[in-house]
């Protein structure tokens, strides 16, 4: 008995429009909606929708023995909801079959796992609640952006309550070991690891329709035979790929859909089943621990993070972006939060890669820019405007710690005022009941004044910080949203 574990990735970033230096400070809308609409609609028509139909047919034909897993980034979900709502419906239909598992990931398909643990956790939560809301599932298995994984990430992921993670089969990590087993993490031994079978996955997603490939044409028969010929003890084959492999990377005419549809029949003949990652985790035992001191991924020849952080441009952009993370989390402005998400998409960094040869051509295939330098310049212009907006909310002259304490004070006081208000309300009701006519309701200010005084007396106890008494004036104006600005002056 053997198991195939299919997992498909769906991701689309919000692409940036051409944003000139002159736009900084004037234009706060950064996105190329036309390109986003165009691309996602095209891919959905050619790939996502027919592929969904294919999966649905396969699940129905095979009596729920055919199972797959999906990981859909939050940004892709937003775009699909907006431009291709029928895809969400079709996905819901798939979810209802019970044969589809949804995986967890960062909402923005971001690199936050490498830079900002707090942000990372927040994004994972945001993504999972989006999945829950749309498909009624709470993800149990984690998959990081482009399968980026190392020991630190493992600890964070385990800390968030996931029982397994999906990652790549980088040769420099695996060495002689085979990806066809369940592993566990060295830093969090209870976290199981599913490793991508790179060869068999890429046979489908990259090589399937290549006539120069020695094994062309690939048939389901042949493919299942390959799996069957694996050593007997290797019981798990993880096939991870981009969902647009069906219909987009491998066009419909190549027969990719028919190939997929034929798989279950040949698999059944050879006693090969289809499992979701969760099933794999519950049915297999890990064979060994896997230590990954440096991050690996499934991208580029190097299978590390150099696709996004390989050169000085990419490092600078990422460093600058995450330097304001703490600030952004203090903000309450919805637009800032949105932009913050969209700007984190790993794709922006992917476009800045200066790699050559095969890797380079993949980067430039996806990039909307003509050179990595243009990509960088454009991104930095946008980022610069974004940073100014964040700073306008909370000036850079106040450091984070001070700002935090100020905000805490304000929040405490807001709660305090709320409480006192309720008290006033209650007392006023009492007054109305008790002394009819003596204290009319209109005379509210007269009642409130002594209350405020009472509030002043209570205050020194409420905020934790020593500085609290100095903050008094702010407390009175607690209604204003930006007291921090006032402090700065």
């Amino acid at each position: 008995m053997r198991a195939i574990c299919f997992y498909f990735q769906i991701h689309q970033p919000f692409r940036l429009k051409h944003y000139r230096f002159f736009d900084i400070g004037n234009d706060h809308y950064y996105y190329d909606d036309f390109a986003d609409d165009d691309i996602i609609t095209r891919i959905a028509q050619r790939s996502y929708l027919p592929a969904n139909q294919m999966l649905l047919d396969m699940i129905r034909e095979n009596g729920k023995k055919f199972k797959v897993a999906f990981s859909i980034s939050g940004t892709a979900l937003e775009q699909l909801e907006q431009y291709v709502p029928e895809f969400i419906d079709s996905m819901k239909e798939l979810a209802q079959t019970g044969c589809v598992e949804f995986l967890s990931e960062t909402y923005a398909h971001s690199l936050s796992s490498l830079y900002d643990p707090v942000e990372f956790e927040a994004q994972v939560k945001a993504h999972d609640s989006k999945i829950q809301q749309l498909f009624g599932q709470k993800p149990k298995v984690f998959r990081n952006t482009e399968l980026i994984y190392d020991d630190d990430i493992a600890s964070m992921v385990y800390g968030m309550g996931f029982k397994a993670a999906i990652t790549a089969d980088a040769k420099h990590v695996l060495g002689w070991r085979s990806p066809n087993f369940l592993y566990s993490s060295a830093s969090a031994p209870k976290l199981k690891l599913l490793l991508k079978n790179g060869k068999l996955s890429d046979d489908i997603s990259f090589r399937f329709s290549n006539p120069e490939w020695a094994s062309y044409p690939l048939t389901a028969d042949k493919y299942i035979n390959w799996i069957n010929e694996l050593p007997q003890e290797e019981q798990l084959v993880n096939l991870f790929m981009n969902y647009d492999a069906f219909g987009e990377l491998q066009p419909r005419e190549s027969g990719i859909f028919e190939f997929m549809k034929a798989l279950p029949r040949f698999a059944a003949e050879n006693d090969i089943q289809f499992w979701t990652p969760s099933e794999v985790v519950s049915k297999f035992k890990p064979v060994a621990e896997l230590a990954v001191p440096y991050p690996m991924s499934w991208t580029d020849e190097a299978r590390d993070t150099s696709a996004w952080l390989g050169n000085t441009l990419q490092q600078e952009a990422a460093r600058k972006l995450y330097s304001i993370g703490e600030r952004v989390r203090l903000c309450t402005d919805r637009r800032i939060k949105l932009d913050w998400n969209y700007l984190q998409a790993s794709d922006h960094f992917f476009y800045m890669s200066t790699k050559h040869n095969d890797d380079g051509s993949v980067h430039s295939h996806y990039s909307p820019y003509d050179s990595p330098y243009t990509a960088f310049t454009n991104y930095m212009n946008v980022l610069s405007d974004f940073m100014t907006r964040v700073e306008e909310q909370y000036p850079a002259s106040i450091d984070n710690e001070e700002l935090n304490s100020l905000l805490l004070t304000i929040r405490n006081q807001e709660q305090e005022i709320e409480k006192l208000h309720r008290e006033v309300e209650m007392m006023r009701n009492n007054i109305v009941q008790d002394t009819t006519g003596d204290f009319p309701i209109d005379e509210a200010p007269a009642v409130e004044a002594p209350e405020l005084k009472k509030e002043e007396e209570k205050k020194p106890a409420a905020p934790k910080k020593k500085k609290a008494p100095a903050k008094k004036p702010a407390a009175k104006k607690a209604a204003t949203k930006k007291p921090a600005n006032k402090k700065a002056k």
Partner: protein, 420 residues
């Protein structure tokens, strides 16, 4: 007095300072009166100003005889040149150039830019110059920059009139000393054949004398000037969203212009100041390197690249700027600081640029002196007195630098040559 000028660029379609200078000088000479100037450029677009010079396009001058009628010529090149001129030129074809690739009018095509096969274009240009020189009457021949020296020499040999060459730059400026031997030999040849050499600064004059071995009495400096700006440009305002000080570098991003010193100075200033943005406007072969350098210094969020700016965009950029900086390693003249001053932007220029010879109300530093540059930037954006003084005085100074004065000097040189 009739002058036949050879140039490579002419506004509004310009690629660098050469076009601006050629235009300003021609207009300045015309303002002095009694000048009849014919200006030859490789490829006119039709929207060049024609009121003070006759424009002849080298790509409209036939070198091979074609039997075409007036209407056809009118329809093909009527927007660029008077068809009658075409027929006059056709009457003076001096050789059989049918072996060359010519078009339906018997003309050679030009890109009018700086293409890969630049040397070929230069050669073709001088072939066409032979036809033009035989057609257009002139008292003196004037060649702007090395691209047109061969044409000037050819015209001189045909007409026997004195040749003036105008050195806007030498290859020593462009290459930081590693001269291209072919370019050098064209320049040297031009200087040898010239009856007089005009340089745009004393710096260039010294280069011509020392590096090209030209006799000093044959070389005169006529500094460049600027055209007064029109109201529309002067009234441009900084964009409303501007919150920080803007320090601008405007020019080709090449070795000659010293862009790396600007980046380094920017890094120093940004360590101290928060609300400053640095802009590198322009394009060039060192642009990608500069983007990398800015990223490496960790200032990329405050260091911006606009790409090539043209026409009004240049002035919009200046209107948004608080400091203009030109750290050129070797700048024969450098008109752009003057334009910045016209827009009321305080300027910092390198001592190694020609315009430093005539400007007083600017800050001058050595191009390599990053510290001095950073200090100057800092004081201009921090101290309003400094900013205002440089702005007011600079404006007053630059308004005195006009082309008619430069034109008068050139006319004087012509007179001496003709009466010799």
């Amino acid at each position: 007095m009739k002058a036949l000028m050879f140039g490579w660029e002419f506004p509004p379609h310009i690629l660098g300072g050469l076009g601006t200078a050629s235009y300003g000088l021609t207009k300045g000479m015309w303002q002095n009166g009694d000048m009849d100037i014919t200006f030859v450029i490789p490829k006119p677009w039709g929207d060049e100003p024609k009121d003070f010079a006759n424009i002849i396009g080298a790509n409209c001058a036939p070198v091979a005889w074609r039997d075409v009628n007036w209407d056809y010529v009118q329809s093909r090149i009527g927007n660029v040149m008077d068809p009658q001129m075409y027929f006059n030129l056709r009457d003076h074809i001096y050789g059989d150039f049918n072996y060359m690739s010519t078009n339906d009018l018997g003309c050679i095509e030009f890109s009018g830019r700086y293409p890969e096969n630049l040397l070929e274009e230069i050669n073709n240009y001088s072939i066409v110059a032979g036809v033009i020189a035989r057609t257009v009457e002139c008292d003196i021949i004037h060649s702007h920059d090395w691209l047109t020296y061969p044409a000037g020499i050819h015209a001189k040999q045909v007409t026997g009139k004195p040749l003036v060459i105008h050195v806007h730059a030498t290859d020593f400026d462009r290459s930081r000393g590693n001269v291209n031997p072919t370019v050098f030999s064209i320049e040297k040849d031009g200087m040898n054949h010239a009856d007089h050499i005009i340089t745009v600064s004393n710096l260039t004059r010294r280069t011509v004398i020392e590096k090209y071995g030209i006799s000093p009495d044959k070389v005169t400096t006529v500094h460049n000037a600027v055209e007064p700006l029109n109201e529309e440009l002067l009234n441009l305002e900084a964009p409303p969203g501007k919150t920080s000080k803007v320090i601008t570098f405007l020019g080709r991003i090449t070795m000659q212009k010293g862009p790396e010193y600007f980046v380094e100075a920017a890094a120093q200033v940004l360590h101290k100041v928060n609300n400053a943005q640095f802009v590198m406007a322009g394009s060039g072969d060192m642009m990608d390197k500069m983007i990398r350098l800015a990223a490496k210094r960790g200032i990329a969020d405050r260091f911006h690249f606009t790409g090539f700016l043209k026409g009004k965009q240049v002035y919009e950029m200046l209107a948004a700027s608080d400091v203009y900086i030109m750290p050129s390693v070797s700048e024969p003249f450098g008109i752009s600081p003057l334009e910045a001053m016209q827009m009321g932007v305080p300027s910092i220029i390198s001592k190694q640029s020609g315009c430093a010879e005539i400007l007083d109300n600017v800050i001058k530093t050595d191009y390599w002196d990053i510290n001095a540059m950073a200090d100057a930037i800092y004081s201009i954006i921090k101290y309003p007195a400094m900013f205002n003084e440089l702005r007011e005085q600079g404006l007053a100074e630059v308004n005195q630098i006009t082309w008619d004065k430069a034109g008068a000097k050139v006319i004087n040189i012509y007179r001496n040559l003709i009466n010799r």
